[in-house]
Subunit: 308 residues, 2 copies
């Protein structure tokens, strides 16, 4: 059996204003996976990560992603996946995206790169479809595979733009030990919003993209404001506003909900600030009697890759 | 009496997806105005342009703009304005913005530039407030004064970002001889929109800003799509969809309603395409028995300026 070990990073979707259209890689945190191929048929997924995952192979996001890959590749084969370490599911930092991205990235490497990275995003989106009621999002899988910050301009056809990231950008994430399902987070969202609010949101999306592409760090910070999803979702996260005030005071450029939560993330100009911000996040939740995992990572240009 | 002659260009607001947050200068078309100051008090506006304007000085957009300037300057004076030539009002290419911008720009020059261009935008916005029921928009006055393409990220506080424009960009505008008031154009807009549509729109705003800043011309073209205002307003413009199909076929990157209409504008990669597109527009309306004025202009970096 020919095999390869790959790493696929965590990712943060939405970035405040960019609800459903933007995502950012969070390097240094991610999934480590060994994927092997052989003649024959079938898919076997072995979970050695210690993180609870669906027992049935059909319920794992890896399965539809691999199926989409192989259907497009046109040659069936036997695939064996060993999940060595895994982002905690339900964290809001792209756990499912990392799994499905790692799997298709590994297959592509093993087969001599028959597909572009953009095509791999499409395959990995099939995994996202499985866990989000039939809607395939790219805002985690795109940055996970492509690295950096990715704008999903549209889906018909899929149009992804990788944006430059000012040097030094670091991200802090806290995953508090509270349960907010993606389904619940979607249900609190209104179906319609005032045009006035939509205009403010797209002004900020424009500002965020301009800030990133022009290297205007302050503009990035003041554009990362979400007036659409956050007002509905922030009550799931105890002391959200208080925590934001604290981290902004200590130098973070912005703090928002990571994806649909319950994780929160903050962006900082440098590593030292990001580390301090992560400590503040940890303390904040501890003070409220809530355990949390915290991470800091550079907003690297690198996405999924062969493990060193 | 100390006097100066200034030119303030036309401008196109919205640029498709950027409803209420983006505007673009349209150089070579604009207002030519002579402004003089003297000791004493009072404002006199003389219209030599041949274009019909309000008879009462209080009803002219120039008046609140000059009043705001002088209130901030802190020293009253006598101001005389002679409008030499003028963009046709109601065209949707920033006629009122050009008037109020020219007036405050001229005053600033005459007084030794006490204010920044950004501050002049705020004064000129008072003119916009007069004609839009108390709402002060910056999406025409900002590009008129600053040049290029301007993103209005937000209003509280006013946050304007001048975006780079790929070289060669030219704009074609047709102003058909039909009447669509800004008020009517506002009234057909819904108060609320589906989140799904808002997300598509802000994906396109992000794409447009990325296309401009990264110099990706095709991305600019495919992002200039408006699914919010255009569906409500396009029926005011006879054969809008047919015309768009024609100009895209002949090389335009995108065609949309200019501001709230009834003018339409198209963006092209070069002057020759823009000229051809303008001819197609002229023919289209002529075929429907509608007279039109057409213009082509470079999307210049220059805004209001001292007339040569």
């Amino acid at each position: 059996m020919k095999s390869i070990r790959v790493f696929a990073p965590a990712s943060v979707a939405n970035l405040g204003c960019g609800f459903d259209v933007m995502g950012m890689v969070m390097d240094a945190v991610g999934d480590l996976m060994c994927v092997g191929i052989d003649e024959g048929l079938g898919l076997d997924i072995e979970n050695r990560s210690g993180v609870p995952l669906p027992a049935n192979v059909e319920d794992n996001v890896i399965t539809p992603a691999i199926m989409a890959f192989l259907a497009s590749y046109g040659k069936p084969m036997k695939v064996k996946v060993i999940i060595e370490s895994k982002i905690h599911p339900g964290s809001g930092i792209g756990s499912s995206a990392a799994s499905s991205s790692a799997a298709v990235f590994a297959l592509n490497e093993l087969l001599g790169k028959p597909f572009s990275i953009e095509k791999l995003v499409e395959f990995a989106m099939e995994g996202e479809k499985l866990i989000s009621g039939g809607v395939a999002h790219a805002d985690n899988v795109a940055p996970c595979l492509m690295g950096g910050v990715v704008l999903i301009r549209g889906y018909k056809p899929l149009d992804m733009i990788k944006l430059p990231v000012p040097p030094g950008f670091h991200c802090s994430v806290a995953h508090p030990d509270i349960m907010v399902s993606t389904k619940m987070a979607r249900e609190v969202m209104p179906k319609e919003i005032p045009v006035r609010d939509a205009v403010r949101q797209w002004g900020n999306v424009g500002g965020l993209v301009a800030g990133l592409t022009l290297g205007d760090i302050d503009l990035v910070g003041r554009s990362m404001v979400d007036i659409v999803a956050e007002p509905c979702r922030k009550s799931f996260i105890p002391g959200f506003e208080i925590l934001r005030d604290k981290v902004l005071k200590d130098g973070a450029l912005a703090m928002n909900i990571a994806g649909s939560g319950p994780s929160v993330f903050a962006l900082s100009k440098d590593d030292a600030t990001a580390v301090k911000v992560a400590e503040i996040m940890k303390e904040h939740f501890a003070f409220l009697g809530i355990d949390s995992r915290v991470y800091t990572a550079s907003v690297s240009d690198r996405g999924a890759r062969v493990a060193e």
